[in-house]
């Protein structure tokens, strides 16, 4: 038992440090989110299993700021309604995708949370639906997701020999990865990234003149 405690901190060091390597990515995602909020967009959050709890946490974070002086921003957790969650989505789509299609508007933000080593459920489909609508898509995902996502130059590592013209579709416009295979450590990193997004969104919104410019990729 004591050994488990001794390794608990050590196991978290690498993934924790990896967040610093993604600092620029996190900053760009927050900037893009701030621009959407500035234009009246809302945040729709979702995940399955453990990540559904974190999606709820992120939504309440934005809607009810912990810090005095910060404005409340509209955020909706898609898993809050048991009726919607247990109803069939229709057209074969999952309950998250069905709700997203129903509630999402082009200027909104979709934030999907995906853990490691388990099925992603309809989170990728919901993100794809969000992109189709024109929403900004943000994924809190894992190293596995990042490694199989199409690269930013449009090439697809999973389909290196794919015929030219086969457009690879990324999971989200902003993929922020927790670099661990342990779902619990991933969850801890996601919480930190979500808190940082919240803090930076508010900081960017203090400078609206920066929100009309698109950040470099």
């Amino acid at each position: 038992m004591a050994t488990a405690l001794a390794t608990a901190a050590a196991r978290r060091a690498g993934p924790g440090l990896a967040v610093t390597a993604d600092a620029g990515r996190i900053a760009r995602a927050a900037h893009a989110m701030a621009a959407r909020f500035q234009r009246g967009g809302r945040l729709l959050t979702f995940g399955i299993g453990l990540a559904a709890a974190d999606a709820a946490h992120v939504a309440v974070e934005f809607a009810h700021p912990a810090m005095a002086g910060r404005r409340a921003l509209p955020a909706i957790p898609l898993a809050a309604d048991a009726c919607a969650l247990t109803a069939s989505g229709g057209n074969g789509s999952g309950p998250l995708t069905a709700q997203l299609r129903m509630l999402g508007r082009p200027h909104d933000i979709a934030l999907g949370i995906l853990g490691p080593g388990r099925p992603d459920g309809d989170v990728p489909a919901a993100l794809a639906a969000a992109r189709e609508i024109g929403m900004l898509t943000v994924a809190l995902a894992t190293g596995e997701h990042a490694d199989r996502d199409p690269r930013e130059d449009g090439t697809d590592p999973a389909r290196a020999s794919a015929s030219p013209g086969t457009a690879a579709t990324p999971l989200a416009a902003h993929l922020l990865a927790a670099r661990s295979g342990d779902p619990l450590i991933v969850r801890e990193i996601h919480l930190t990234i979500a808190h940082l997004l919240w803090e930076l969104v508010h900081a960017f919104m203090e400078q609206p003149d920066l929100l009309v410019v698109e950040a470099p990729r």
Partner: protein, 218 residues
């Protein structure tokens, strides 16, 4: 989480903009993005060191807590998790983890359905206490999460103690208050003035407890 006027996570009220560091040569959006990235690096390191400190500081208390929880589960006890605001979502994660991870132990968060909450939440500060009174039994476990506003949560723990449940409190600064009257068997107070870092360290404490409970159960 609930609002904590004057006890915000990291900065004084009135969000500072992301102004470039003087002399950095960066201006406009580039400068703001660079400043934002530096802030990310700083906070990411802050939680790393807090996490290490917390695990070290609580080592002697995490083991007996896990042993008591394991004994309760062996005796047929169920775990009830609860908390306010963001901590309410984190309580949901705790319940899901115990229920779905490893050997699958009986765990639930206190009901959050609006019908249930508004029906039982009529008395100020008593929403969790009333739910515990309705659902809890001797030998069950109460796990409460709070950052610094511990009123409702403290009442819930007091009710759980009164019913002969194992009580676990995971809090931020000021969390000692929830332990007044000896209602918390196992108290963990995360030493950080940032609500965000507190919640992140609380998640680690819950995850490590879950792991230790499984080891204790063999």
């Amino acid at each position: 989480m609930t609002a904590h006027p004057g006890a915000g996570p990291d900065a004084p009220p009135g969000a500072p903009g992301l102004h470039p560091f003087p002399g950095s040569g960066e201006t406009g959006l580039d400068g703001a993005l660079a400043t934002a990235a530096r802030l990310v690096e700083e906070k990411a390191k802050e939680i790393m060191s807090l996490r290490e400190r917390v695990l070290e500081r609580f080592a002697d208390r995490l083991l007996p807590c896990a042993a008591a929880m394991a004994a309760a589960f062996r005796g047929g006890g169920r775990l009830f998790a609860f908390g306010t605001g963001g901590c309410g979502a984190d309580a949901q994660a705790v319940a899901h983890l115990f229920r779905s991870g490893g050997r699958g132990l009986p765990a639930l968060r206190l009901p959050t359905d609006v019908a249930y909450v508004t029906a039982l939440g009529g008395g100020a500060g008593r929403v969790f206490a009333r739910q515990i009174a309705a659902l809890g039994a001797p030998g069950d476990i109460a796990v409460a999460l709070a950052t610094c506003d511990t009123g409702d949560v403290g009442e819930g723990l007091a009710e759980a103690r009164h019913r002969g449940m194992v009580t676990v409190g995971i809090a931020g600064p000021g969390g000692e208050r929830m332990a007044e009257g000896g209602v918390v068997d196992h108290l963990f107070v995360v030493p950080s003035s940032s609500v965000h870092r507190v919640q992140e360290a609380q998640a680690t404490i819950c995850h490590v407890l879950w792991e230790l409970v499984h080891r204790a159960m063999g």
